[in-house]
Structures are given as C-alpha cells and as structure tokens.
Symmetry: C2
Subunit: 219 residues, 2 copies
C-alpha cells in the first residue's frame, strides 16, 4: 500500500488527528493499567503515567480530565471487552455458561497486568470513599444479573435442580474466580488458575444438575 501514492491519503484533515488521538488515548489507558496494578489508585501518579507514554501531564489531561476519570475509563474499557466476549450471546445451558467462564479465566491468564490491576482495584474499592467503590459494587450486581439469566433458564429447562439457589451460586462463582486470580497473580507460572476453575465448575455442575453432569470434557 505504501508505494501506491495515488490511494487515499493515510491522514485526511481531521481524520488523522482522530486516529493519533485514539492511539494516544489507548496508550495512556494501557500505561494506566500497569500503574494501577503496581501502585494501586492512590499511589499512582498522572505525571508518571504521562512520562511512560512519552507525553506531558498536560497532554494526558487533554484526554482524561483527572486520575479518577482515567480510572473509570480504564475499568469501563476492560469490562466492555469482557462483556462483549463472554456475555453477549444467550447461553443454551448452565454447562455452556461455565465453559465460557473457564474461557474467560484462560483469557485472563494471558494478561497479567490487567488481572493484577483488577485484583488491586476491587480490593481497594472496599473503601466507600474510593473512586471505584460505586463501580465495583455495581459490577457484582451486574455480574449476578448476567449469570442468573442462563441459570434460571437452566432450572426451567430441567438442566438444574429446581431448588438451586441461583444468586448464591452466582456470587460464589464470582468469588472463586476472584480468589483464584489473587493466588495466580502471586505465582503465575506455578498456580493453575484455569485448572482450578475447571475443577470447581465441574464439581458444582455435578451437584446442581438434575442428571449430575459436569463440565463438557472439552471445556
């Protein structure tokens, strides 16, 4: 493409500026993930994040109006991505839903920085004055809502036992995933996060399904 000068210009007026802006914005978000993961929210510094991206703090503030704003945008981008990947289609069974969660853990095991950041911010956000407190409180409500739908369906279809406490199961599943992430981040090479989640999901399904079936063997 490069040698065909007659093709569309790579940067049109305005368009190029947007592209550069988007790319810079994206690099700031990536750097912020690393800083929040290592330092937590409070000890992270906009000046140091800007320096890592090779811009000034003023340049950073052109894209994000404060550290709080940057935090919210970082979280929104991470979660959007996950929701799209794993919760955008309707699961036909509880087993399929759990297979998708195992896939999510597999994906998380390829992105240490993001997973570390998530652990730190979810824990810090327990402080009611933390700028991500509302975000994380709502996150677990949404997560339970997202997961409850396919599980309720699975009760109706006869896959799950009728007395399954769906909210309890969803909250417990979220807890297992979060807790496994903490152990995995401490020892990413030695700790088998995906294997542990697979084992949990398999045992859980065997005990809440009517037929006692676990996770599909290829999950």
């Amino acid at each position: 493409m490069v040698h065909n000068e007659s093709r569309k210009p790579r940067k049109g007026p305005g368009r190029g500026t947007y592209a550069v802006g988007d790319e810079r914005r994206s690099r700031i978000l990536d750097a912020a993930v690393e800083h929040f993961a290592q330092w937590g929210f409070h000890a992270s510094s906009l000046a140091r994040i800007a320096k890592d991206v090779g811009i000034t703090q003023g340049g950073l503030l052109h894209h994000f109006r404060s550290k709080e704003d940057l935090l919210v945008q970082v979280l929104a981008r991470c979660e959007e991505n996950d929701t799209e990947l794993f919760f955008s289609h309707a699961f036909v069974s509880a087993a399929e839903c759990y297979a998708a969660l195992v896939q999510l853990a597999e994906y998380n095991s390829t992105r240490l920085g993001r997973t570390r950041m998530f652990n730190v911010l979810a824990a810090e956000a327990g402080d009611p004055g933390h700028p991500a407190h509302a975000y994380f409180t709502q996150r677990y409500v949404d997560l339970v809502a997202h997961m409850s739908d396919p599980l309720r369906h699975a009760v109706e279809s006869g896959e799950l036992k009728p007395d399954t406490d769906i909210v309890a199961v969803c909250q417990e599943t979220a807890a297992v995933m979060d807790g496994l992430q903490v152990q995995w981040v401490l020892d990413p090479k030695g700790f088998d996060m995906v294997g542990r989640l697979r084992g949990y999901a398999d045992r859980l399904l065997r005990s809440i399904t009517v037929e006692g079936n676990g996770l599909a063997p290829d999950a």
Copy 2:
C-alpha cells in the same frame, strides 16, 4: 485496689516502661491496619499513622524501623492470631475443619478494617517488588499445608473419597474465602459472606465425602 496504697506499685521500674511500650506498639499496629486498608501500602505514610496514634514519626520509628517492617509486623500479628484460633488443634474430620473455616469467616465479619486490609495487601503483593510478596506467596503454601493434613487424614479414615484432589480443594477453598471477602467488604451489610461460605462448604463436602454428608447443621 486503687485505695490500697501498700499493694504492689502499678508501675515498677522497667515494668511500667515495657507496658507503656507494648500498649503504644499495639496502638501503632491498629492504626497501621486502618491505613493499609484505606490507602494500600504505597500511599500509606508513617507520618500520618504516627499522627493518628498521637506520637511523632520519630516515636513510631522507635518501635518499627521502617514502613516495610511495620507491614510485616502487622501481617504477622494478624495471622498468628488466626492460626492460634483455628489451626492449633488437630481436626478429627474434614467436616470439623470446614466448620472452623466458617467460624473464621464469622470472626472476619466482625473486623472490617482487618479484612479490608487483607484484601488490599494480598492483591498488591502480586507485584514481585512488593514488600509483602514473599509473605503472601508463603501464606498460601502454608495454608494449603495446614488444611491438607486433616483432609488427608479424612481420606485415610474413609470420610473423604480416595480420589479427592486435596491440594486443589484447599486452593479452591482459600479462593472462595478470599473472593467472598472482596464482595463482603464492598457491601458489609447486604452481602452474606458467612452464609455463602456455609453453602459452599456444605455442597463441597456432600460431593467429596464417601457418604455424601454436608456440613453439620450447627456449623
């Protein structure tokens, strides 16, 4: 006692100094728990912790030689306490071991600051450069070792199925407890941490015990 002046003096030489020193040390540790819980390790400040205790930073450094030292002492005191309370006697069964873990969660639900601090530090410590990295890595190794003993016994005694993957079960249990703590700290009044752990332990025991027995009803 106060009006009997002839009794042993309340402060002997040295003894009184020790007592005052111990009490101050203890107050510093309590204040540190709150600061680490709210600000994380990096953004916590010795000067502000000292101020909360009503002493100077120099006075604090008389008891703890650095912020790292204070962190290590805070963690050691917390964990010592728990180990004594819950792991000092030999459990006669897996069911008894899980009943003790439910009790530990009950205890944790009475100390929000300590639980918040634990969540934050365990997450932060995922950074290999964090001063508590070695502590938390070892903590999960110890925890699995502590729990493995009674569970292995339970396999030998015929309570648990012979093919129980004990290490996996211990790591999963630690994950559930940690993850439930994150959700509980976000919503201490609304989230039933103890109930969720009880439900998990009961279902787990039903699936790994030979007779399919869950948690004792009074656990």
